[in-house]
Amino acid sequence: MHYEAPIRKPLIEGDKSYHDITLDVVRPVESSAPRSWWIVFSLALVAFLWGVGCILYTIGVGIGTWGLNKTVGWAWDITNFVWWVGIGHAGTLISAVLLLFRQKWRMSINRSAEAMTIFSVIQAALFPGIHMGRIWLAYFVLPIPNQFGSLWVNFNSPLLWDVFAISTYFSVSVVFWYVGLIPDFAMIRDRAVKPVQKHIYRILSFGWGGKAKHWQRFEEVSLVLAGLATPLVLSVHTIVSMDFATSVIPGWHTTIFPPYFVAGAIFSGFAMVQTLLIIVRKVFSMEQYITIEHIEMMNIVIMLTGSIVGIAYITELFIAWYSGVEYEQYAFLNRATGPYWWAYWSMMTCNVFSPQFMWFKKLRTSIMFTFFISIIVNIGMWFERFVIIVTSLHRDYLPSSWSMFSPTFVDIGIFIGTIGFFFVLFLLYARTFPVIAQAELKTILKSSGDNYKKLQEKEDHGDH
């Protein structure tokens, strides 16, 4: 019944039993943090606090503390927003889409991927807030009657669509993640000896007992959530892309954006997952769960989406030329050859050229190279958003209003701050949460476990 074609590589290496999995998963939680963890954590914390400072300064003094001007009304703020949202796509995608496609290899990575999703969406959600001139009135975007009478929000505005998209995506991701966590929390609870710890995990685990009926519902809920989350993932970046696609600015007003943004999001998301998991598997010695196989799989996804993105870039250029609209043509010419050519070409190099190396098995199975590329890709994707936003705005219709943008220390500080915040959250998660969905993983031990596969083979040979 647990049969799986022997040509498939085992997803769990080493001679593992159910109990071994338990032990491996629970180890980081039960052991105390290594020095390396503390160092990284404090670094992240410092960056985070610096960011908080910059944000408070902005709110206290005004958006003028950023590098923006009358022509370039958005720059790093929305660039970072889109970047983080993009990163926040892989998690749900891995757990939802791959669940629907019954991709077993997802199981050992989806927990961390989802965690990453949630943490990066938190970063993303910061920016639409702090980029407001009057953040203290942010509640105006909620569809509630206010003190000025029943003055409602504008449902025509892509920015409002964002409000709904982001909040839905975030909250649904959280429950999806949490439902999956409950049995694993229960496991930790049942092993915990320290009363405080036990108590905390009892609260977290909702008293899960693993009854047959509950498992039945559990699986159904996971499946339905996956079914809901899949279109949701696609919708989020589609809607984010509409911020630009529905506008009139040459370089923004582009119908290709939705698919192009989604592909880009998956691209950057997987890159970020790579970055994190390569660290996690090393630090928590989980090489046997997060195998080269997994890394290769993700590299292939990166290569694919990277190429899709590349095609999107080229299509844009072609359409700009083909449209015959002078503003459109100039916008793209200006991207490649204007004052911000360097941004454009960094984007091209990082996003289109670098993933092509993944065609070589040798490279896509090399940990170091993968790590390197994953960083490169994320840099490239940041530049993509910068190019789209700033180089389109800074030279639009009337030359009289053309201008340039350069960031202030506040712009930079806030960006660094979000990176810090992200790692603070992720590091805390890695120490206190089951970083691998062990309950799920146990279900595939027999089919994809190294030892069981060997067993399987023996039996087959035994037959004839």
Partner: protein
């Protein structure tokens, strides 16, 4: 179902396949299985135990419909009825004309309602909530052991030996009531 005078027999297994076989045998004997605790979803267990299909998916669908209607009434009520405005010349005379702009909202709210209300239902039906005490009788069942609770109506010894035969590593009697 389980009454106080009934005796509950716990059979502990250490492998899902053996458990599954055991469940089948016990059911064939027409003995009522009260509950099975497993560390992970064991495929086919619900069928073996003869559990009914869950209808939570249907609930989710209904919630989705609710979300969609909310979105439609909200957009209609706010921008068409209560305060129709000329926003960039977009026709807001009827909801239909303005609808294309509302599609994202409609989609998002559908998903939002479906997902959240379904999960709430899941918690509610399972009677699990933050801080609720562990429902499993034996902590090992979240690690690598599988536990079957059988109601001994007739001869307990007979039943226990039967369970032994099915490959249970431990068989014990307890009157403690679970579930």
């Amino acid at each position: 179902m389980a009454t106080t005078n009934n005796i509950i027999v716990n059979a502990l297994y250490d492998d899902d396949d053996i458990l599954l076989a055991g469940v089948k045998q016990v059911r064939e004997k027409g003995i009522e299985i009260q509950e099975v605790y497993t560390p992970f979803p064991v495929h086919g267990l619900d069928k073996a135990m003869g559990l009914k299909e869950t209808r939570i998916a249907i609930a989710a669908f209904l919630y989705g419909v609710l979300g969609l209607t909310t979105a439609i009434t909200m957009t209609y009520g706010m921008l068409i009825v209560d305060w129709p405005m000329n926003i960039g010349g977009k026709p807001s005379f009827t909801w239909g004309e303005n609808m294309p702009a509302f599609v994202p909202i409609m989609f998002e709210l559908t998903v939002f309602f479906a997902a959240h209300l379904m999960v709430w239902t899941f918690f509610f039906r399972n009677k699990i909530y933050p801080g609720c005490k562990a429902q499993n009788p034996d902590p090992r069942t979240t690690d690598d052991k599988f536990l079957m609770e059988v109601v001994a109506t007739g001869n307990t010894e007979e039943l226990m030996s039967l369970l032994k035969q099915t490959g249970a590593i431990e068989v014990s009697v307890n009157n403690a009531q679970h579930a």
